[in-house]
Symmetry: D2
Subunit: 299 residues, 4 copies
Amino acid sequence: MKLVKHLKVQKGMNVSELVQEMQGVGFGAGDIAKASLIMDEMFKDKNCRVFFGVAGAMVPAGMKEVIMDLLDETDVFVTTGANLTHDLIEALGENHYIGDKLVSDEELNDEGIDRIYNVFMKNEVYEKLEDFFEKNFDKLRECKTIKDFLWKIGELSQGKGILKKCWEKKIPVFCPGISDSGIGMMMWGRNVKSKFKTNIDVFADINDIVDISWTSKKTGVIYVGGGLPKNFIQQSMQFSKGADYGIQITTDRPEPGGSSGAPLKEGISWGKMKKTGKFVDVFCDATIALPLIFASIRK
Amino acid sequence: MKLVKHLKVQKGMNVSELVQEMQGVGFGAGDIAKASLIMDEMFKDKNCRVFFGVAGAMVPAGMKEVIMDLLDETDVFVTTGANLTHDLIEALGENHYIGDKLVSDEELNDEGIDRIYNVFMKNEVYEKLEDFFEKNFDKLRECKTIKDFLWKIGELSQGKGILKKCWEKKIPVFCPGISDSGIGMMMWGRNVKSKFKTNIDVFADINDIVDISWTSKKTGVIYVGGGLPKNFIQQSMQFSKGADYGIQITTDRPEPGGSSGAPLKEGISWGKMKKTGKFVDVFCDATIALPLIFASIRK
Amino acid sequence: MKLVKHLKVQKGMNVSELVQEMQGVGFGAGDIAKASLIMDEMFKDKNCRVFFGVAGAMVPAGMKEVIMDLLDETDVFVTTGANLTHDLIEALGENHYIGDKLVSDEELNDEGIDRIYNVFMKNEVYEKLEDFFEKNFDKLRECKTIKDFLWKIGELSQGKGILKKCWEKKIPVFCPGISDSGIGMMMWGRNVKSKFKTNIDVFADINDIVDISWTSKKTGVIYVGGGLPKNFIQQSMQFSKGADYGIQITTDRPEPGGSSGAPLKEGISWGKMKKTGKFVDVFCDATIALPLIFASIRK
Amino acid sequence: MKLVKHLKVQKGMNVSELVQEMQGVGFGAGDIAKASLIMDEMFKDKNCRVFFGVAGAMVPAGMKEVIMDLLDETDVFVTTGANLTHDLIEALGENHYIGDKLVSDEELNDEGIDRIYNVFMKNEVYEKLEDFFEKNFDKLRECKTIKDFLWKIGELSQGKGILKKCWEKKIPVFCPGISDSGIGMMMWGRNVKSKFKTNIDVFADINDIVDISWTSKKTGVIYVGGGLPKNFIQQSMQFSKGADYGIQITTDRPEPGGSSGAPLKEGISWGKMKKTGKFVDVFCDATIALPLIFASIRK
């Protein structure tokens, strides 16, 4: 036990100073401070490979740049098909919008606008997606793993974005639920129309992520929002004898037993987190916590 | 607006009487009552195909029989690889246990016990899984879709369970995230050792679910816990011109923008829920709400 | 650890049978079952005095009858001023209504309707409240404790309700935050206009609740929603050497450190819960959990 | 609708720069940015009186200095008896500690340590509290309102703190639930022993807060955690014709209908929030959100 040191706000203080002040306090702020220390140590540890899992609508919400900057420190990236679809939509020149969460969904539908809480997108963006996949189907259907397929999208898309960066930097990117997304729907559409079809075995990517985990001296995990990205990394952690570092940001409850709300320490029972691991669960909206933690270590 | 009619508890009342009393009240109880009415109407509507999506650790928690009974009313079932792995584990004769949520994860690990909140499982169950997949790999690797692969598991496993029932009753069962599970790991292990490998195209199942949605006169959706199961059904709903009925049970928050916490009405903007659809969001642990709602319509 | 026994829904099953089935499962349903067993034991224990604390808008929501029935088993009742104001409003012949939670607050305001999530009330009810307090001010201002003041309201009001029952059955009813309510505002209004003023010492009621706690052989606590009612009971529990039984129903998170979300076991550190106490935290909307638990023991 | 502008983390950026970046994004971060703008405008508006309500264990957690700095901008302060008790405990020279949330409550009890999530306090601090109230009872029992009583504590206590500052700066401080706290228990103890007793009418303070609200040209409200502090301010807002500005920070759910989780816009129906008011609900642990928002306007 250490003394509570009351947080003091100073004029013009920078983010790392604020988060340093949070070290002295309890509850959520203390967890932010702990996450900052762990992220800093994880990134500086040359023997540690970082596995970064992102669920939730982080790209539509405006977290694309934060994720892209974090990719510079990331060895394995796992996310949802939705995030990658929205990343590609932006890479193709389309946009997302912020608005009023109280707007009528009936009116939105009439106007051809799709809603994600208070983020909006014109439904017509799917036409550009169609064009992209129509044009590039022959190259995409050659891929044999989801990772290669995603890299190929990154290579073929024009604008910058997460997939472009993963391809450029050869960061392994996994998306076990890729069929559950706009990208999946596009590929289905092409498969239906084409004589030649895709042939990406559903289990093929496991080999890659297990191999990276297996050959790591140390591992660190960062989970935003849980879901498949968390679990897919978690199951690979058994091959690294458990993660050495862990940061989880989620607002899901632990009581109903879902993986997204499960505290990291449960991973110890499964051998997915080391008993000596340094880890923290941050109960906070990730659009607040992730930039705050990341900015605090960018001194 | 209708008058609040205070709920009255009667001695020995049955579940449908209790839930009927909930019709007169506000907040969560009113939503349970509404879900009961919608489920009843959805199941009785001969023109309606029911899409049932289950995320979260429902099988380990003890909801297997409830899910199996609900499958009698279900036209399409979508779930996580974890639920199917735990279903298979039980079909192979192994068990789950309830215990104290405050137990030490370090001690559990020493004893070879895996934990899901207050549900526990011996890690040695994976040996039986290994045997099953070792023995049946040749048959399983022939499958070309995840659905056929899951039906094959159902056919080959001895004990009763969800997959067995889906196979017996030919209920289409989808699991877009199957690689993210113990079953996925087992198949990876066999693929590594075998000269012959699986060849299940990751996009292949979309065709089946879209086709069922497309050919439905009416559709109803039941979502437990969100996640991939919800989203995979949601994306198929566009082909049914939106669901006519909807029940969502989740404890996730809407504010952070994830699909699992998104209210059903957001689906209207996307064309995944009909403007005239009857739907309700139930904010409740599904192990409480699902049996309660289901029991209320089993008069 | 005991074996998970999958919950089985039977046709026409009654509530106690359903909750009995929940004994075999994990997560929230298991907690409901545990709460049922504890409530049953608590109520049957002749040496145990039951302290029942209710926060949240339970009366407007339609839980008045459930609370009144539970008062038959209650030795001390603590609630918010809001609940008692809404109880009195109904006792004076006014009503609450259920409606659509998506209605516009601007329109409600134009129509003179006040909203509590999806429960509504005409603002004009306050006129009847005014009449009641105007007419009875002379009797009410004589009271020297909040408990006596509340009993007096119960005596003077015509219709049935919580306060009427507390007065009739002489159940001690505490409301430390009474000034924070419509009743409080009414008394302020009369105090302003009258030469004679109220004289209810703010600390006076502590004596009564501590005395009851102090002289109890055993104590049991039931908390709905936390808040002042929980804490006011908790602080008296130290004088009973800690509660022997405890049921808490809340949806508040523990992480931000508030009393409403704090698990009952924290009370052990303070000496407010016995180390050997039987207690359970139920994470559930109280309008669902409270009737469900209570109905399960009314065989 | 405005374009999502992806948040960009810069090296060494200060807090106001980070929060400014949050203006371009959705979900929680956008709400933080909005709260920052509203707080800035509220504080700069010379015609606006600021009503600041704080529930939750903010003082034990380490938010005392933040609250004290915010008091410089505050016209009315409302909080819980718990916060004021812990403030006084520190003013008397005692401390709080941060530790491991997984520690055993049984062991803590053996060691005489009280726990609030991951914040701890020696139970022996109550001895100093006893001394303080024993020594000063004669002066304290003279007070006729809770506000005067709290100012008197501020005057009589040695160390700095919230009550000391409220007294020094003559900031009206209200605590309608004062009897529900360590301070309340101490006063009860003295009342029991003394021939002369306190005489603080429970309704007396309403006059003061209504009067301040009534005479305000404009009003702004800041709610941390809901509870009595929120509601006590809310009921006074009707006399200001509704608040012009509002910031609410809470992690409570709206669905179960409690005041703490109710969105600010519900206040419009009641006439507690102006239709033209600028307000935002921030779903976040207040130990994170409050310093972040406050630091962002301290340029």
